[in-house]
């Protein structure tokens, strides 16, 4: 395990300390919680609050997506583990100004259970809570079982769109609908080339042979659709897009936003090599590319690999996707 860390058990708290020291004008702790952060200028009176959260190890997911036009607060778990109910509750209370709070996060059972408990407790405190679960990874379950699908980098689109809708002054119901519209129109699939190591574990979560890749693997090493010999980028793109396009399905004439995400170790150059092929395949399928987001939007520590997400746009989604947003930890905001 080659990492620039100190005590592996202090990794998450030291990361948070570093983030707060680096971005003091942007983020602060929620009252009474070490693991819940919020916009330094929040809560924003009258605005629907958006609270996200999840395990550490995925920056900019989750805490990098707190800011104007994005989320209002975040609760932070150990590496690849859910945040605690307490921290979720603290974040929820901190950003509610009476307009209600949307819990917007990825569909992982630890998070669902803990956010569920936090929502129950917040509601007992008179806070209106709605929930939207990102479920963009088409490799995790067949489309009929969409509710059990997990989230990968496509969560970015939901943040961007729900965040913009809340910023516009929409009510809780409308913000949730915007989030769900983003979620239902987003489909992703990834490929992993090498594993990552949870600092406190000291050993990789899974192994891949010298020449192996796994198509469809999740961002914590969850099983994909196929493990096999590593193939040229163009073939990998073709295979991934085959699944992604067929799933919604995306159809000729649709306009899409494209997100090519690195899991960490895969350099931007390779993402652009992939994008070149993505552009050709989408062209061939009659899909128009509205915008391209290429970089690290949801990582898995030092895992090598990438994912492709497509968002089918309508006029509302387009307006919200391109609305202003800011975070000092944000990847490039599109072409």
């Amino acid at each position: 395990m080659k990492k620039l860390i100190n005590d592996p058990y202090e990794f998450v708290d030291e990361t948070i300390e570093g983030v707060l020291l680096a971005h003091p004008d942007h983020l602060r702790r929620c009252e009474g919680s070490k693991r819940a952060l919020m916009r330094a200028d929040g809560p924003i009176e009258g605005k629907v609050g958006i609270v996200t959260g999840g395990g550490s190890g995925h920056i900019p997911v989750f805490l990098g997506y707190v800011g104007p036009g994005l989320c209002d607060a975040v609760s932070i778990g150990n590496v690849f583990s859910s945040p605690s109910t307490d921290d979720m509750l603290a974040a929820t209370k901190a950003v509610d100004t009476g307009a209600g709070v949307l819990h917007l996060y990825g569909n992982y059972s630890g998070d669902v259970m803990n956010f569920g408990m936090a929502a129950e407790m917040a509601e007992m405190d008179g806070i209106e809570v709605a929930t939207a679960l990102a479920r963009d990874d088409v490799s995790s379950a067949p489309v009929e079982e969409m509710d059990s699908r997990r989230a990968v980098a496509g969560l970015f689109f939901a943040y961007k769109i729900a965040g913009a809708r809340a910023e516009e002054g929409a009510g809780l119901e409308e913000v949730m609908e915007a989030a769900e519209s983003a979620i239902f129109n987003t489909r992703s699939m990834g490929v992993a080339l090498s594993p990552c190591t949870i600092p406190a574990a000291g050993e990789p979560t899974f192994t891949l042979g010298e020449n192996e890749m796994e198509i469809g693997m999740g961002i914590h090493g969850e099983p994909g659709v196929r493990r096999g010999e590593i193939r040229p980028a163009d073939e990998v793109v073709d295979e991934i897009l085959g699944h992604v396009i067929a799933d919604l399905p995306f159809e000729s004439g649709d306009e899409v936003a494209v997100l090519v995400n690195s899991l960490g170790a895969t350099p931007p150059e390779e993402l652009y090599v992939m994008f070149r092929r993505i552009h050709a395949v989408l062209d061939e399928a009659g899909l128009t590319i509205d915008s391209a987001f290429i970089g690290e939007y949801a990582t898995s520590l030092e895992m090598a690999g990438a994912s492709i997400s497509l968002l089918k746009l309508d006029d509302d989604l387009k307006r919200l996707l391109h609305a202003e947003a800011y975070s000092p930890m944000l990847p490039p905001l599109g072409s």
Binding site: S81, S82, T85, D87, S109, A201, F206, G218, E222
Partner: protein
């Protein structure tokens, strides 16, 4: 030893939180096969949280000690297992609310209460490769033991035996929940890591009771 007092329970939780972290690697490896490999760390961190919380629980009754320990675990090591385990301890603790000690006859209903809580929280049914699949057989076996007027030590031993058999049986099940659920049929052949953790705890409990009884 026929009953567990609050102070017995604290002694047991101390022993448990000492021992469980030793299984970190085994649980990590198991969870890595079927999930994300964090269960060993979850247990290590969560058990440390239980241990650190015990000092504040000295004046509480057994039910409260269980419930608060569950909450302490999940505060520091929140996760699927954390939420499920906290729910289990809170449900079991609630069942003996206000009682000064736990009798053998309380055990079956406590474990059953835990199972109901878990099922309500996570929506799992028996046979779906979760800790329900060791909790429910244990509840049944403990009911038999209680009916047969077993001692605490006999009951604990019996529960452990049943737990191990039930754990073995989880190997044949297909996971439907959590990360294992995404593996579908590929999850068959591997024991359920959460159930392994429960089994290790029950084993520790049986040893604790045996030592106290000597």
């Amino acid at each position: 030893m026929d009953t567990l007092t609050a102070s017995d329970l604290i002694d047991f939780l101390e022993m448990l939180s000492e021992e469980m972290p030793q299984h970190k690697d085994r649980l990590r490896e198991l969870d890595a096969q079927i999930g994300d490999g964090d269960l060993g760390i979850t247990i290590a961190i969560g058990m440390k949280a239980i241990e650190e919380g015990l000092a504040q629980l000295e004046d509480e009754d057994p039910g409260m000690i269980l419930a608060k320990s569950g909450m302490n675990f999940n505060r520091e090591a929140a996760s699927t297992f954390g939420a499920i385990f906290a729910t289990a301890l809170m449900s079991a603790g609630k069942h003996i609310e206000g009682k000064a000690e736990v009798k053998v006859s309380d055990l079956p209903e406590m474990v059953e209460a835990a199972a109901s809580g878990v099922s309500a929280r996570g929506g799992a049914k028996p046979g779906e490769k979760t800790i329900l699949d060791v909790l429910l057989p244990m509840a049944e076996r403990l009911a038999q033991e209680a009916a047969a007027k077993a001692t605490m030590s006999e009951a604990a031993e019996a529960a452990h035996e049943t737990c191990r058999e039930a754990l073995e049986a989880t190997k044949q099940m297909e996971a439907k929940h959590g990360r294992g659920g995404w593996l579908k049929e590929k999850s068959v052949g591997i024991e359920d890591p959460g159930s392994t953790a429960i089994c290790l705890m029950v084993e520790c409990f049986a040893r604790f009771v045996a030592e106290q009884t000597d």
